[in-house]
């Protein structure tokens, strides 16, 4: 059965790659690029948030690092694609710093800490215009020899395919098993000898590198970036929402989430004009209330599919031990 699934997904990606032959409208391709970009970003986030249970609301940091690396290194004379690689490296470095501080925390504290790091980066970029261009902005080079939305779209699909394949591989590996163990009960995992700190950090590094590629692609499409565009909290929440509403911890959840949310957002803008954000908010509330495990997670549950590893990650947790909870709730080690 699994084989059917992967053959099916392969077919899907093939179809996706052929879309530019049929679709000529730049606008549609841009939307589709956005869909696949956020699918890739959501999948990358999913590695940390869905499979490992560490809910980061600061992924814009890595996105922005990727974007600004492309812009600033290129400005210094480095070739664009090498700048992207440097961006990945810098993102990994940032993740190492952010992770080493944040992973000692749990739950909402972890999320808030990631927000704080991303905001510090954003404000630093904004307030140092001589270095980063500040709000006046900085030029970004073209990653492809010609400015073509088609090329970006294809790269978006390829990036999604890459992260998808990586996620599938991790999901079935021992590493992935450790991650699930960390998500389900970090202390139990630690107790049986899983090196939780190391694996959490590793998966964050991987996630950050992939997110940085996405950031560089995005920046190159717009040819021009400002901090409030690529380091904004809106990006972090969009990435997380895409994954969570699609179904965190599932393989195609972020993909479904991205398709649904990005197209919904665009449709709302066309039909609801000024009220589009309100309707978007309603959509989020409705999904949280009625599809608590995301679209894919809920469907999987309803169909009672047998899974070897739990894909719907967030069943009702058992009552936590009250005395320890107060201490553990903040710190984790």
């Amino acid at each position: 059965m699994k084989r059917w699934f992967f053959i099916g997904m392969g077919f899907f990606f093939l179809l996706a790659l052929l879309v530019p032959l049929v679709v000529q409208s730049d606008y549609t391709l841009q939307i589709l690029f956005r869909v696949f970009l956020f699918a890739a970003l959501g999948l990358a986030w999913n590695l940390v948030g869905g499979y490992t249970g560490q809910l980061s609301l600061g992924h814009a940091a890595y996105f922005g690092v990727g974007a600004y690396s492309l812009a600033l290194f290129s400005k210094a004379g480095v070739s664009p694609w090498v700048s992207v690689l440097l961006g990945m490296a810098l993102a990994v470095l940032s993740a190492a710093v952010i992770g080493s501080v944040s992973f000692r925390l749990r739950g909402p504290y972890f999320a808030l800490c990631t927000i704080a790091f991303a905001e510090v980066l954003r404000l630093t970029a904004k307030n140092l215009p001589n270095l980063t261009g500040g709000d006046v902005g900085v030029q970004v080079p073209l990653l492809f020899p010609y400015s073509s939305t088609k090329a970006f779209y294809i790269s978006g699909v390829l990036l999604t395919l890459m992260v998808f394949a990586l996620t599938a591989w991790i999901e079935r590996s021992r590493f992935g098993y450790y991650l699930l163990a960390i998500r389900e009960d970090q202390d139990a995992a630690l107790a049986v000898g899983v090196n939780t700190s190391r694996y959490k950090l590793w998966i964050l590094l991987i996630s950050a590198a992939l997110t940085a590629i996405g950031g560089a692609l995005y920046a190159s499409l717009f040819l021009f970036i400002v901090p409030d565009q690529v380091l904004a909290m809106e990006i972090s929440t969009e990435i997380a929402i895409v994954a969570m509403l699609g179904g965190a911890g599932t393989l195609i959840g972020p993909l479904v989430g991205s398709i649904t949310l990005e197209t919904a957002s665009e449709i709302f803008k066309t039909f609801f004009k000024e009220a589009n954000l309100l309707i978007y908010g309603v959509l989020i509330v409705v999904v949280v209330l009625f599809l608590p495990e995301g679209i894919v997670g809920t469907i999987a549950n309803k169909l009672r599919v047998f899974k070897t590893a739990p894909t719907a990650p967030f069943a009702t947790p058992e009552p936590p031990d009250p005395e320890e909870e107060a201490q553990r709730a903040v710190i984790s080690e």
């Binding site: 948030g49 809910l55 609301l57 501080v101 944040s102 000692r104 925390l105 739950g107 909402p108 504290y109 999320a111 808030l112 800490c113 927000i115 704080a116 790091f117 905001e119 510090v120 404000l123 630093t124 904004k126 307030n127 929440t237 997380a240 929402i241 969570m244 509403l245 000024e274 009220a275 589009n276 954000l277 309100l278 978007y280 908010g281 309603v282 959509l283 989020i284 509330v285 949280v288 209330l289 608590p292 990650p313 967030f314 009702t316 947790p317 009552p319 009250p322 107060a326 201490q327 709730a329 903040v330 710190i331």
Partner: protein
């Protein structure tokens, strides 16, 4: 030049601003302490309180410094209803889904207000605004800020009293300590939690009222205060109300001094750096040895 007086003035300004911050943070600390909910709609509630007070002022001329109880009452009802209607049903879910719901709620409230009132800014003008109290030639205190400081301080004391000396407060603290044993003691957990959410939201709403005369009104006004209140709640220690209040004052002073010595544009970044420092060095918060 007059660095001593400049610093003193900055500290004073910081304390005045910090009182409002503290009030907002106390509301969030109560909610977080009793229910472990990080409420991303807290800023939106502050904004609603501001609009309620604005409408009251425009229609009846009642000054925010008398009209704030209305904002408090309105936000209490809204908070209570939000908790029972939206948050309690998803209580069993993981933290982030709850955060997500409050984010969605914030979008709805903010955009809704914009549709109703328009995106345009509003301001009110009361005679008190131009009164300054001068101590010597170097120090001046703007009267409205002093009034809001006084009101916030009184409310903080009242809230502290409620939490420590009333049955409700005891019930709330019991739930914060042990959510599962509390009902066994005869506490109506749902009711107490809903009331706590209501009170927490009311605090935000009242802070909005007090902010109205010295600031201005627009749908997104709550955003900056929301993020800062997260910082203060952590700083003050998980769920500690008095911690949050003091953290508010501290934050206000830190921002003011940062503006004086480094530059206004860095104040927000410094807030977050402090946040990160506290989380990495003393995660239970500055006053976090005791629980709420």
């Amino acid at each position: 030049m007059n660095w001593f007086y400049s610093t003193l003035q900055a500290v004073l300004n910081g304390l005045l601003t910090g009182a409002l911050y503290g009030l907002i943070a106390m509301g969030m600390a109560l909610i977080f302490g009793v229910m472990r909910i990080v409420n991303f709609a807290h800023g939106a509630f502050l904004m609603l309180g501001m609009y309620a007070t604005y409408v009251l002022f425009q229609s009846t001329g009642i000054s925010p410094y008398y009209g704030f109880p209305l904002a408090g009452a309105a936000l209490f009802v809204i908070g209570y209803a939000t908790y029972l209607g939206l948050l309690r049903p998803i209580r069993g879910q993981v933290d982030f889904m709850v955060i997500l719901l409050t984010m969605g709620l914030a979008l709805i409230i903010t955009d809704g207000v914009q549709l109703i009132f328009g995106a345009d800014y509003h301001q009110i003008s009361i005679p008190l605004l131009s009164k300054n109290i001068r101590l010597g030639s170097q120090i001046s205190i703007n009267a409205p800020w002093l009034v809001s400081f006084a009101i916030a301080a009184v409310l903080a004391v009242v809230l502290y009293f409620v939490v420590t000396h009333t049955m409700f407060g005891r019930a709330a603290r019991a739930i914060a300590q042990n959510r599962y044993a509390a009902p066994l003691m005869g506490i109506n957990v749902n009711q107490v939690q809903a009331i706590s959410f209501g009170i927490g939201s009311a605090a935000a709403g009242i802070a909005g009222s007090l902010l109205l005369p010295v600031f201005y009104l627009f749908p997104e006004v709550g955003n900056q205060f929301k993020l800062k209140s997260f910082v203060m709640v952590v700083l003050g220690g998980m769920g500690s109300i008095q911690g949050a209040a003091i953290a508010g004052l501290v934050l206000g002073v830190v921002e003011s001094l940062t503006s004086l010595y480094w530059g206004n544009e860095w104040a927000l970044a410094v807030d977050f750096v402090i946040f990160i420092l506290v989380l990495s060095l003393k995660p239970s918060g500055i006053f976090g040895s005791q629980r709420a």
